[in-house]
Subunit: 742 residues, 2 copies
C-alpha cells in the first residue's frame, strides 16, 4: 500500500477515548426536549414588560391593580370538592375535574373596575409551558377574550372577585400551577409562584364532553368512587373471593400515580388522552422493560419481598414505589389488576377488575392450547408446554375510542400482568370489549391477544413414535368459561361473559370465530369424531388437609360393551395451570356395559398432597383414556381449589366517626404441623391504615388473637380485611363489615 | 395495643434479607420458558427406544439401515443455492428459502429398500423443539406420511438417496439443525448432531404462498438482491445523494441479523411472521429501551464513536454489534434506515429506503407544526419548539397483512429512528402505505404517526402580549413535499409521493384528511385569509465557503400601495430543522407599488456562517413580515444545503475477477483553514472490505492521495465509495463505478 500525499500524510488513528461515552443529548435533534415530567415546573417571571426600560429603568407597575391574596376554595366542605366528587381525596390541594366549572376568590388591593382593570388566571403544567400545546392556559373573565378554558366572574364584592373557570374537556390531567396576572399598559405583573395554589385536574366521568363520560351514576359510584373491592379467583364452579382496598383516595396516592407517568417519561401533552394514559400505565405497572411498579413472581419463593397472596390493598405498594423509586416485590395477576385499578380510579377513569376462568396463555399468537398424549392416550407432561390459567385477572376501563371506527367505545380491556405478548412488549390494551366480542381483532391495541385468552381451543394430540402428532380431541368450550366482576353498589358477583362472547354454539359465535380467522387467528381445523364414551369428574368442595374420594364416572352411550384403558392423574398445580408434582396416578381398565355408567373411585389421602401444596392449594385432575374397541380418546380435566382455614375478624365499639374501636383477628392452626414465618396483615378504608404482624411460629393446633385499636375517620359502611400468609399456607382471609355513623 | 395469643406470640419482623433479590424465575408461571434464542440448540438423543430394556439391555439397532454420510449440496455451484437465490451469501452453510424445494443426498451403508426401510429428515430450531410449535419438523419420503413440510425421493442409486424437501410457506425463519432418523421396530436411531448440517431458511419473495411474495423480478432484484444503494438527502429542490453498501450477503451478516432477534428475546415461534419480525426489528435497530444496534446522536460531538455522516455501509456496524454485544455509536435517520434495510434484505424481506422531504416531527399526536411570531410578525425562537426535518429517511418493506382487512398489504412503512412516538416506545410500523394514503390510520401499527409526518400543517401563530395566540397563517403544502426512493435496477430517483398522498388540493385529498380526523387527528381548523402580498425566496446552489446574495422578492397583488415591515433571518440549522445560530438578521421596511414586485437583497459573507456550520451545512432562511395597511402576516421559508467539496475516486486495473486493481482517493482542502482529525473511509461490495484512514491535519489548500490495492471477488458492475469526515466538514463523498468481467 503506497501513499503520495502532497502535504497531508496519514497518521495512526488516535486511541479510542476511555471511559463510558457521555450521555447522548437531545442537541440538534429537537429544539427542546419534550416535557415529560409533571414534577418539573417552570418559573413564570413576576414582571413581563412590553416596553424597553427608560432612563430611570422600568416604570413601577405597583400603582396598578395589585393582588393581595387568592383563595382556592379547597376545603372539603366548600363547593368545589363537593361538586367535583373529590371530597374523599386526602390532599392539601384543590382537586377538580375537566369540563366542569370550579371557583376561586381573588382578593385585590382595591375594588375591581371591569372597565379598566385587566387580569387573567394562568394555569401552567410541566417544564416548558406553551399555549399551543395546552401546557400554558390563560383564562380571562371577559366574554370577548375566551380561550379553550372558559372564565367568568360570578361575584364581585368590593375588592373580592369570585371567578369561575371551566377547564377544557380534553385538557391535560395532572398537577398545575396557578398564577394571577394583571395586564398593565407597560407590561404584565404576576403573583409569585406559590405551592398552596397548585391544583390537580382529573378526568371527569360525570361530564358528557369528557372522553371517559359514563352515563350511569351507580356505575360511576362503583368504578370511580368505591375504595373497597372484591376480586374473584378459585375455579369457575367453585368461586372464591378476595377483598381488596384500592385506597385511591389515600394520602399520597394521587402523587404516586402521576409519578408513574413521569417515570415512563410520558409527554405531558399526551396526558389528556385516556387511551394513551392507560396504555402507558399497562406497561408501567409491571417492572419488565421499564422499571415499573411491580415485580412479578410465581415461583413460591418470596423471601425478598411480600408474597402476592399477602397484600390487602394497593396503598402500601404505590407509596413504596413512589418513595423508593424501585419496583416493589411481588405481584401476580390480581395484584397487577388491583393496583392498576387504583391508578385508574384515582385519575378518574372508570375501571373494574374482571376475572376470566380458564384463561388461555397464548404465546405464539394462535388459538390453540396443545396437550400432548402418547399413543396409549396417557398425558406426556414433558412435551405439554402450554398451560391454561385457572383464572386470570385484568382490568376494564371505560372511554370513547375516537381512534377507531364508531361502535368500539365503552369498556376497554387493559392488562398489566407481564405475559409474552406477540408484540414483544409487556403491556396489553386498551382493547375494545366490543371489538373482541365481534372478532374485529385488527384494531389496536392487542385485541387478538385478549381474544385468544377467552376463545382458544384445547387440542389433545396423540404423539406417534416418529414424533409426528395427530389431533384426537378438541375441546372448544373449556377456555374462557366464565368472566366475572363485582356488581356495582353491591357485594355480589356479576357474570359478564356475554359481553366478551356470544353463546357457545350460536351462529353469531361461529361468525365471530370466522371473522377472527380472517385476521390471522389460527384455529384447529380438524374436528375428530366425539367418542361414544364420556368421562366425567365431579364437583368437589374440600378443605386443605382433608382425605377425600374422587369418583370418576364413565358413561357408555353406545349399544356395545366398551373397555377403556384409563389414566387418572392428580397433580398439585399453580394457578397458572403449571403442574408442580403428581400425587396420584392410576391406570384402571374399565369395562362398561352398553348404555350404562360405571364409577371408578380414587381415594386421595391428605398426606399425599399436603407436603407438596404450592401457592393457592390447587389440585388438578386429568383423566385420559383410549377405548379398546374403537381406539377413540376420551379426556376430562378439573381443577379443585382446596378450602383454606379462615381468619376470624371481629370489630366492636360505638361505630361513630373519631371514636376509638377495636378489631380482633383470631386464627387457629388446624394442622398437626407448625406454621412458620407467618405474616398477618389488616386494613380498612377510612378506618385503619395497613398494619402487619409477624409470628415466627404457630405450632400445630395452637391459636392466636391480635387486637388492634383504630379510629374511623368518616361515616358510611366499610370493611376491615385481614390476610394470613406463610410459605406452608397462603391466602387465608377474613373480613368484618362495619357501619360508621357521623 | 394488647395481645392475648394462647400460644402463638408475635415477634419483631425479621430483617429484610440483604443483597440484591434473586433473578425472578419462570417457575410456576409457565411450564417452560418460551424459546427465544436461535443460538440455543437442544440435543436430540441418538437412540430413542420404544421398548423396555431386556435382560441383556437394549437390542443393538446397528443391524438396521445405517447412515454413513449426508451431503447438504451447499456449494455455490450446486442447484440449491442457485435455485434459491442465495449464491451471494458468504456462508459455510446451506441457505434456502421457504415454500421452495431443495435437495440433500443421504448415503446409507447399503442400498435403500423403500418397502422395509423407514427414515425421516428432522429439522430442529431453538432450545425446546415441538412438533405442534413448528420447531421440530420431521419430513418423510413417503406420500402417506407427509407433514407440513413436503418430502419426496428424487433419485436413488445404490446406497445414495437424494431427497427433496419443501419447507412450509409460513415456517420459522432462522438457523436449523438437521438430523436423519431411521425408524426400526425397537426404536429410532439418529445421526449425531453435526454443525456442518446446520442450515438457514429465509423468507421467499419468489414464492407465491410466502407472505413476502413480490411478483416483479426487477423489484425483487433491487429490493432483495442489490447490495449497493443510494439514499437521498439535501432539500426537495436541491436533492443530494449518498451511496451506501448494504452488504447483506457479507460474511457474518446473516448471523448478526439473527442475533438481533435473539437479543430482543423474540419467541422463535413468531419468527415465521414477517409482520412480527419487522416490528421487533424496528425497536431493536435503535438502542433506546432495549440495548439495540445503534445509538442516535444529533449533537455534533461524535468523539466516542463514528460520525453518522462518516459510515459508508452497514457491514462494520452489524459485525461490531454482534461481536461486542453493545450498541454502536453513532447514527442518524439514514443510518438507521440503511442498517434496517440490510437486516430486511438479508432475511429475504423486500425492502427499500425512502426519503421524505420536510418531514414533520409529531410529538403530541396532532397534525400541526407550530411557529410562533410576536405581534410584529417576528419569529419567536424561544417559543417555537416544533421542528420540521429537512428530510427524514425510513424503510418500506413488502408483505401481505392478514391481520388487517383486505387491501392493506404491499408496501409497509417501518422506521427504526427513535422518535417520540405517542405510543411511548421507540419503534414504528409496519404501517400500510395504502392505509396512510387513504387516511385509514386506525390500523396497526403507528399509521397515524407516519400520516402526520407527511400531512401536517405548518401553523404560524401571532402571540399577543397576554400570552394567548391566534393563527395568522396556515401552510398546508410545506410538509411531505416529496417522497423519493431509488429506481429499481437503475441509479436514478423515483418519486413515490403519490403512493403516500393524493394530489394537493384534489377532492380525494380532502376526503382523506377528513377520514383521518375521524380517527382523532387534530388539524388546524382556522384558515386565515391569504395576504395580498407574497414573499418568495429563490432557489440557491451554493458551495461551502462562498459569499452569495439572497434576493427576497415581495409581490404586491393588490391595487394599492403596500408597506411591509419585514424580518429576514438566516440561521445554520441541523437537518432536523433545529436552529443552531443566527448569522443574518435584517429588518427592512419594504414599500411596494400596486401590482408590482420588489426585490430586497441580503448579501451573505462566508465568514459569517463558516465558523458556525454544523453537520450537513444547512442554512435556513425565514422571512416574515406584517403589512402595515392590512395587518396581515406574510411568511416564506427555505433550506439551502451548501455544496461540499468532492472526493475524487479513481479505479484502474484489468477489471477481472481475482486480479488486483488500484483505487485512488484524492482530496484537496479548498479552505484557507486547516481540517483536523479527518477520517476517510472506502469500500466496495464484492471488491473491497471497509477500509479507513486517519489524517490528523490537512492544512488549508493542501491535498492528499490515498492509494489502495484490491482484488474483486466476483463479476458484474459495482462501485467503490468513499467518505471524508471531520468536525469542521462533514459528509464529503466520492465514488467510482467499476465493471468486473469473469
Amino acid at each position: 500500500m503506497s501513499d503520495e500525499a502532497t502535504t497531508a500524510t496519514p497518521s495512526p488513528a488516535p486511541p479510542a477515548p476511555t471511559g463510558p461515552p457521555p450521555k447522548v443529548t437531545n442537541r440538534g435533534r429537537s429544539a427542546a426536549p419534550a416535557a415529560s415530567a409533571n414534577s418539573e415546573t417552570s418559573d413564570i417571571p413576576e414582571y413581563e414588560y412590553f416596553i424597553q426600560p427608560g432612563p430611570r429603568g422600568y416604570p413601577p407597575l405597583t400603582e396598578y391593580l395589585d393582588i393581595w391574596d387568592v383563595d382556592m376554595m379547597k376545603r372539603p366542605d366548600e363547593s368545589n370538592k363537593i361538586a367535583h366528587h373529590t371530597v374523599l381525596y386526602h390532599s392539601d390541594y384543590l382537586i377538580v375535574r375537566r369540563a366542569q366549572e370550579f371557583q376561586v376568590k381573588i382578593i385585590f388591593n382595591r375594588a375591581y373596575k371591569p372597565a379598566e382593570d385587566k387580569f387573567a388566571l394562568e394555569f401552567v403544567i410541566g417544564s416548558s409551558p406553551q399555549f399551543s400545546k395546552g401546557t400554558y392556559v390563560p383564562v380571562f373573565p371577559t366574554r370577548e377574550r375566551q380561550t379553550t378554558w372558559e372564565g367568568r366572574i360570578t361575584n364581585t364584592s368590593d375588592n373580592v372577585v369570585t371567578m369561575a373557570i371551566t377547564p377544557a374537556a380534553n385538557c391535560i390531567v395532572g398537577k398545575y400551577q396557578m398564577y394571577v396576572a394583571v395586564v398593565t399598559p407597560y407590561g404584565i405583573r404576576r403573583t409569585r409562584k406559590e405551592s398552596s395554589r397548585d391544583m390537580y385536574i382529573l378526568f371527569n366521568p360525570w361530564a358528557a364532553e369528557d372522553a371517559v363520560f359514563l352515563d350511569d351514576e351507580t356505575e360511576r359510584q362503583e368504578c370511580v368512587m368505591t375504595e373497597m373491592g372484591i376480586i374473584y379467583h378459585g375455579a369457575y364452579d367453585d368461586i372464591a373471593e378476595r377483598d381488596w382496598n384500592y385506597g385511591q383516595f389515600n394520602y399520597g396516592i394521587l402523587d404516586a400515580c402521576l409519578y408513574i407517568m413521569d417515570r415512563a417519561e410520558m409527554p405531558i401533552t399526551n396526558r389528556g388522552d385516556p387511551i394513551k394514559v392507560v396504555r402507558v400505565a399497562s406497561a408501567m405497572l409491571n417492572s419488565r422493560d421499564d422499571e415499573g411498579v411491580l415485580v412479578g413472581n410465581w415461583s413460591g419463593d418470596y423471601t425478598y419481598g411480600v408474597a402476592p397472596t399477602s397484600w390487602t390493598g394497593s396503598t402500601d405498594i404505590l407509596l413504596t414505589y413512589n418513595s423508593s423509586k424501585m419496583p416493589v416485590c411481588y405481584a401476580q395477576c390480581w395484584v397487577y389488576a388491583a393496583v392498576f385499578n387504583t391508578f385508574l380510579r384515582c385519575l378518574g377513569i372508570p375501571s373494574r377488575v374482571v376475572t376470566n376462568y380458564y384463561s388461555a396463555h397464548d404465546n405464539d399468537g394462535n388459538l390453540k392450547t396443545d396437550i400432548i398424549l402418547d399413543e396409549n392416550g396417557r398425558i406426556d407432561r414433558n412435551r405439554t408446554r402450554d398451560s391454561i390459567w385457572n383464572y386470570h385477572c385484568w382490568n376494564e376501563c371505560y372511554m370513547s375510542r375516537p381512534d377507531l371506527p364508531p361502535g368500539f367505545g365503552g369498556w376497554q380491556v387493559v392488562d398489566a400482568t407481564p405475559q409474552e405478548t406477540s408484540d414483544g412488549m409487556y403491556r396489553c390494551g386498551p382493547a375494545s370489549v366490543q371489538a373482541i366480542k365481534h372478532g374485529q381483532i385488527c384494531f389496536p391495541f392487542d385485541a387478538a391477544f385478549v381474544f385468544a385468552e377467552i376463545n382458544s381451543d384445547v387440542v389433545f394430540h396423540s404423539r406417534r413414535k416418529d414424533g409426528t402428532m395427530e389431533p384426537v380431541r378438541v375441546n372448544r368450550t373449556h377456555v374462557g368459561r366464565l368472566v366475572l366482576t363485582k356488581s356495582p353498589g353491591d357485594v355480589t358477583r356479576r357474570d359478564i361473559t356475554d359481553q366478551y362472547k356470544f353463546a357457545e354454539g350460536s351462529t353469531e359465535e361461529r361468525t365471530v370465530l370466522e371473522k377472527a380467522e380472517e385476521y390471522g387467528c389460527k384455529r384447529e381445523k380438524s374436528s375428530p369424531p366425539a367418542a361414544d364414551v364420556d368421562v366425567v369428574l365431579p364437583n368437589l368442595e374440600i378443605s386443605v388437609g382433608d382425605n377425600f374420594e374422587l369418583n370418576v364416572e364413565f358413561i357408555n352411550k353406545s349399544d356395545e360393551r366398551r373397555t377403556v384403558d384409563a389414566y387418572i392423574s392428580g397433580s398439585v398445580v399453580y394457578y397458572t395451570g403449571v403442574a408442580s408434582t403428581e400425587f396420584l396416578f392410576l391406570t384402571p381398565r374399565v369395562a362398561i356395559d352398553p348404555k350404562t355408567n360405571k364409577k371408578e373411585v380414587a381415594s386421595v389421602e391428605s398426606k399425599n398432597y399436603m407436603k407438596r401444596l404450592v401457592e393457592q392449594a390447587n389440585l388438578h385432575f386429568i383423566v385420559t383414556g383410549k377405548i379398546r374397541e374403537t381406539g377413540q380418546i376420551i379426556t376430562a380435566m378439573k381443577v379443585v381449589t382446596l378450602r383454606n382455614p379462615k381468619l376470624i375478624v371481629e370489630v366492636s365499639g360505638k361505630g361513630k366517626v373519631s371514636e376509638e374501636m377495636i378489631a380482633n383477628v383470631e386464627f387457629t392452626n388446624p394442622f398437626s404441623f407448625n406454621l412458620e414465618n407467618v405474616y398477618i396483615r389488616m386494613e380498612g378504608p377510612g378506618m385503619m391504615e395497613p398494619k402487619s404482624r409477624y409470628y415466627r411460629l404457630i405450632t400445630g393446633g395452637s391459636s392466636l388473637t391480635w387486637t388492634e385499636y383504630f379510629t374511623p375517620q368518616r361515616a358510611g359502611t366499610s370493611r376491615v380485611i385481614a390476610t394470613l400468609d406463610c410459605p406452608a399456607l397462603r391466602q387465608v382471609h377474613g373480613q368484618a363489615s362495619v357501619t360508621i355513623s357521623p
